[in-house]
Symmetry: C2
Subunit: 331 residues, 2 copies
């Protein structure tokens, strides 16, 4: 017997249908990303294969676009959005469009050819997380932009086209749909209850404990109640914080520790799956505030999304989050 | 330069970024579904490999669960939802769940081992479309169910686990998220303008013509203004109609004709891609009404959805719908 669960934050439902885990090929195998390491444009020494860097963590003595860097940031070669606008916003009252101004950057996480978050040291990952913060701070200087999203695709099944471990930043001139929905629900909860819905969530998950994967006091990692995917895991700061970019260097180390811990467990439980990681943070134009709480969502891509999911917005998850969390804790 | 477009029906934005079409491997190749025809559970003669049929188009003289059928409907072996409920609805004021009651059926579209919609004759497809109607009419007799969605997955990249051409029906005890969003926008438009937003859409697309793929008067096929995917195509009845299940046998033939025409063009333009097809129809509990308009969405799976799409709800489409429609018209 399956169960339909409503996400407590947004009006999305999920079908938890564990019988479907028995389906042949229900869980996808990770696919090779199909990139030859010797030709990798993200490896140190191949800097000329990418657009010129916009930032890097490197010794002061080292040269731009040359080896020596630890984390390197370059514009995406095929940007979804760009700095300059060559068209006006348009609307005929029915159809509306706005020019695709924005930022689309690639954050290359290490100079050596490593392919997964778990291949990085905690020190390396902390520098990557610090770079997320710094690039968000730069992007929000452009007053045309309203929101920035950091994300990471690992494995071909998760949409990665290059296997060398990297993240991306896309900053947009509007607040993306999913964030707008979270903000709307969080705002409603705040009006009714006088507190942040994510703070409430953290408190309830810690008290219940069945879905908690790791609890490191400054951060907690758990499988959400209405998980859409097997082993879906969220990481939230325990203390209220609306904007990722307010993270301190010290917090980045703590976040690296729990993220590495959670990813190591997911790699072990699901055999190094393809996955997406997304950082949700409050829009740029909002001051630090009491109703939204930044967080990281990790989505292993073990199930494929098919017509039903696309058509209905309902997800079918063959692994209940309580069981997923138990397996992850045991890893 | 890319462009952000808002869907005129729901509050979803799409990034039309044609420069990304140049990205290596941007467009996925279709994958083999990996099923051996001789062992196909959906072929005539292998009826014992599926659960017993709940309906079939077959000569009166032929036997249930034996060859002779033209279209056959069986329960899904791994149902996401089931008829019987063994648990109550639950809510603690923060987390809510409802039992997974519902219908999950497989509509086997032909007795021979064909794998794509375009392998069917128009006559066969008309009988499939008629079966959609009949199964929706049966599902809505269960007063616990609020909505039924017909969908079809073709190709492994679209989530198909069996290649023999088939569709599915999932009927749910709630109105799925995407349909609820469409209804909410349609309702708002109806209050403001006094007409169906989809009727307005059909009129505007016909007048503009740039995105129209096929126009057969009773039905029109076009690429939507805020297409999320390359070659995404919608088919709508030209005359207002809220519920698919009110289709006449005569209409099913006309619908088969335009659907086969559109799929033939998509197969030619995109080299027989994996795709999802979804029928959106008004909830069961609504009488035929003036604000919603049933329609079919065809989603070729040529791009993969990655972290940005999952995190933001924003889609990046490397092929503008005007260009997609032009190519489809030329096929």
């Amino acid at each position: 017997m399956s169960e339909l669960r409503k996400d407590p934050i947004v009006d999305h439902w999920v079908i938890i249908a564990e019988n479907r885990a028995e389906r042949p090929n229900e869980l996808l195998q990770p696919e090779p990303a199909g990139v030859e390491p010797e030709a990798c444009p993200f490896c140190a020494g191949n800097e000329e294969q990418t657009p010129g860097e916009v930032a890097a963590l490197r010794p002061a003595a080292s040269e731009r676009d040359a080896p020596g860097w630890r984390v390197r940031v370059v514009p995406n070669r095929y940007p979804a959005l760009e700095h300059s606008a060559d068209q006006p916003a348009a609307s005929n009252g029915f159809y509306s469009s706005v020019p695709g101004v924005g930022v689309h950057e690639v954050i290359i996480e290490c100079p050596e050819h490593l392919v997964r978050t778990t291949d990085l040291s905690e020190e390396q990952l902390a520098e990557v997380l610090l770079t997320y913060r710094d690039r968000l701070l730069v992007a929000k200087l452009d007053r045309r932009l309203r929101s920035g999203m950091i994300f990471k695709n690992v494995g071909a099944a998760a949409g990665a086209s290059i296997e060398h471990t990297h993240s991306q930043l896309i900053a947009t001139p509007l607040v993306p749909t999913s964030l707008a929905e979270e903000l709307s629900s969080a705002s409603e909860f705040y009006r009714a209850q006088g507190r942040c819905i994510f703070c409430e969530l953290v408190e309830r998950e810690r008290a219940d404990a069945r879905r908690v994967v790791l609890d490191a006091s400054a951060f907690v990692a758990f499988c959400p109640y209405a998980a859409r995917f097997p082993y879906e895991t969220w990481i939230l700061p325990g203390a209220h914080s609306s904007h990722y970019e307010t993270l301190s260097r010290y917090d980045c180390h703590k976040l690296a520790s729990i993220l590495l811990g959670a990813m190591t467990k997911i790699d072990a439980a699901a055999d190094r799956p393809a996955y997406n990681l997304v950082v949700h943070s409050a829009p740029f134009d909002a001051e630090a505030h009491d109703l939204y709480h930044w967080h990281i969502e990790i989505i292993p891509r073990l199930t494929s999304t098919a017509g039903f999911e696309w058509g209905s917005g309902l997800y079918i998850n063959p692994l209940a989050p309580e069981r997923a969390a138990e397996r992850l804790r045991d890893c």
